[in-house]
């Protein structure tokens, strides 16, 4: 399959993520949209990794492997981030009994 398809798919997913972060008001949904952005990047990395590998000469078949390694790092870091993020959201919920980000206006003077 041509690489352009992957690029378009990843960018579409990424844009859905960005739009979701900007217009949704529920903290969990915003969070899911951020994960969607990260996964769009993952998809693109794997696709490019495959593309660089296919384009390389046969003598050097390791080309492109670092793209796939990067994806594992992203997964680990995203998991760490989720654990912190959910803890903060739970703490927020205990205090205000809501996860609507519209409640977040105490700091606007």
């Amino acid at each position: 399959m041509p690489i352009q398809y992957y690029i378009v798919l990843a960018l579409v997913l990424f844009c859905i993520g960005i739009i979701g972060v900007l217009i949704r008001r529920n903290a969990i949904i915003i969070f899911m949209c951020i994960e969607l952005m990260l996964n769009a990047a993952n998809l693109l990395l794997v696709a490019f990794s495959k593309m660089h590998n296919a384009a390389a000469t046969a003598t050097n078949s390791n080309v492109g492997i670092e793209g796939q390694l990067f994806v594992f790092f992203i997964m680990v870091v995203a998991a760490a981030e989720v654990s912190i993020g959910l803890a903060i959201i739970v703490m927020m919920f205990r205090n205000v009994h809501s996860i609507d980000v519209n409640f977040l206006n105490r700091l606007k003077n």
Binding site: I3, I7, A10, F14, G17, V21, A27, I30, F31, I34, M37, L38, A40, A41, N42, L44, L45, F48, S49, M51, H52, A55, A56, T57, V63, G64, E66, G67, L69, F70, F73, I74, V77, A80, E81, I84, G85, I88, I89, M91, M92, N95, V96, V101, L104, R106, L107, K108, N109
Partner: protein
């Protein structure tokens, strides 16, 4: 390499130490001892005495600039812990954990000063910011702290998403993650049409890093987060973390700005002016000193962006000088702020009568932030503007605009000085130890010494 390994190690030691040690004073002493060990091990590497070498396959590069920057931020952290250690330990229930998180964050900052590969950029940024989400939200019952934590977390991971997309596109365009100039080893095989992905990816990375250093128009989270976070941690965020973000920024774009040259010379001056505008003009209208300092940190980001725009000798020396000058002054003002009971300007009324030492040192810090001559802040700003003029005289208009905004900034810094010296009132503070006053005087003296002879610091860089 020592700085990275030891800062992570002392974080773990601190964390485990928290199980055994419950007394706040001993926790503080442990943290200070560990920081001295970190500084010692880093200096040992700096002077080639002792070095733990790990083969990283070129992902981390040992360079003089980064090493010197590490020395600066480790020393600043030490100073910060000495000054506000008791406030850190008191910020919540678990004193030792806060120190551990600060050390982990410092570890991320040291990675950012020496990365040579986008994977390390990503890991460094994450290691630096994830502990800060916890620290921002550390006052569990305080709704403002909760809100700041959630906002910081959402904005932080949003910008991480953008960063990763940028890295993925960069990889597509070049076939490698290394940041050195030149297209990858399989350059010929990469289709011509895919080369366009490189500048696009760099643009994404640029936006993401602009989020991290709070450059306009991506600065909107900064005042809320800095205001809501406990004051001691705001001080750390506004100084060490922010300057490390700039070092990461400069490291990448020093090599790669040529790839987005068509927009670089238009985009960056625009961002500098917007940042100066957003920071300085909004700071004028603030009622709370803490929030004013948050906006002023945006304004200072505008000045630090000059080093990114012109990464020549002046710019690189300037960013080191700016790091020292800005961080010393900000750590000092925040240390005084944490001792105040009321964070508004009225809260400072008459401080000079009741606490003359605090008022006098705070005045020096504020003068340095405003960039008045004879303080370190003046030369920091001077080097930044000189870097722009050295690059090309066509930058003159940008320099003039920056000087005008610096003049605006004098207004809101002097409001604090005016409140301390010329207004009647009884400013209430919490208990102040003599040691705290001595440290404040040392910091103020450092600011003046660097202000008189900036070459003292810069000579160390070349020594």
């Amino acid at each position: 390499m020592n700085a990275i390994i030891f800062s992570a190690l002392i974080g773990v030691v601190m964390m485990l130490g928290g199980i055994v040690i419950k007394n706040n004073a001993s926790i503080q002493s442990l943290a200070i001892i560990l920081l001295f060990i970190l500084l010692g091990s880093h200096l040992a590497e700096y002077y080639n005495l002792f070095n733990i070498h790990i083969e990283t396959h070129g992902m981390l590069a040992k360079n003089r600039f980064g090493m010197f920057f590490n020395t600066i931020i480790i020393s600043l952290t030490l100073l910060y812990v000495l000054l506000s250690g008791d406030e850190i330990a008191k910020a919540g229930t678990y004193g030792a954990e806060y120190f551990a998180l600060l050390f982990f964050s410092l570890c991320g900052a040291t990675i950012l000063s020496s990365y040579n590969n986008l994977l390390m950029l990503f890991l460094g940024v994450e290691i630096m910011t994830i502990p800060l989400f916890v620290l921002t939200a550390s006052e569990k019952k305080n709704l403002k702290s909760n809100e700041a934590g959630l906002k910081y977390f959402l904005m932080g991971s949003f910008s991480t998403g953008i960063l990763l997309m940028g890295i993925a596109l960069y990889y597509g365009g070049t076939g490698l993650f290394a940041i050195e100039a030149g297209i990858g080893k399989n350059a010929n095989e990469i289709q011509q049409t895919l080369r366009i992905l490189l500048p696009l990816g760099l643009l994404f990375i640029f936006i993401s890093l602009a989020f991290k250093v709070s450059a306009a128009p991506f600065h909107f989270w900064t005042p809320d987060v800095y205001d809501g976070a406990p004051s001691v941690f705001t001080s750390f965020m506004a100084t060490i973390v922010k300057t490390a973000g700039f070092i990461a920024f400069i490291r990448l774009f020093e090599l790669r700005s040529v790839d987005m040259s068509y927009s670089w010379k238009i985009l960056l001056p625009l961002i500098i002016i917007l940042t100066l505008l957003a920071g300085n003009i909004t700071a004028v209208f603030q009622q709370s000193v803490k929030r004013m300092l948050a906006y002023s940190s945006i304004a200072h980001a505008g000045f630090m962006l000059f080093a990114l725009y012109n990464p020549n000798d002046f710019g690189k020396q300037g960013i080191l000088l700016y790091t020292v000058a800005y961080s010393l002054a900000t750590i000092g003002t925040f240390a005084v702020l944490t001792k105040m009971k009321d964070y508004t300007y009225e809260g400072y009324n008459g401080l000079a009568k009741s606490k003359p030492v605090l008022a006098a040192t705070n005045t020096i810090f504020l003068l340095s932030l405003a960039g008045i001559p004879l303080t370190a802040g003046f030369f920091a700003k001077y080097y930044m503007l000189a870097s722009a003029l050295k690059e090309s005289t066509r930058n003159l208009w940008l320099v003039i605009v920056a000087v005008l905004f610096a003049a605006v900034s004098v207004y809101y810094y002097f409001r604090v000085i005016q409140a301390m010296y010329f207004k009647e009132g009884n400013a209430e503070t919490t208990e102040i130890k003599p040691f705290f006053k001595v440290l404040l005087i040392i910091i103020a003296a450092l600011i003046i010494v660097i202000g008189l002879m900036p070459s003292l610091l810069l000579d160390l860089f070349y020594a």
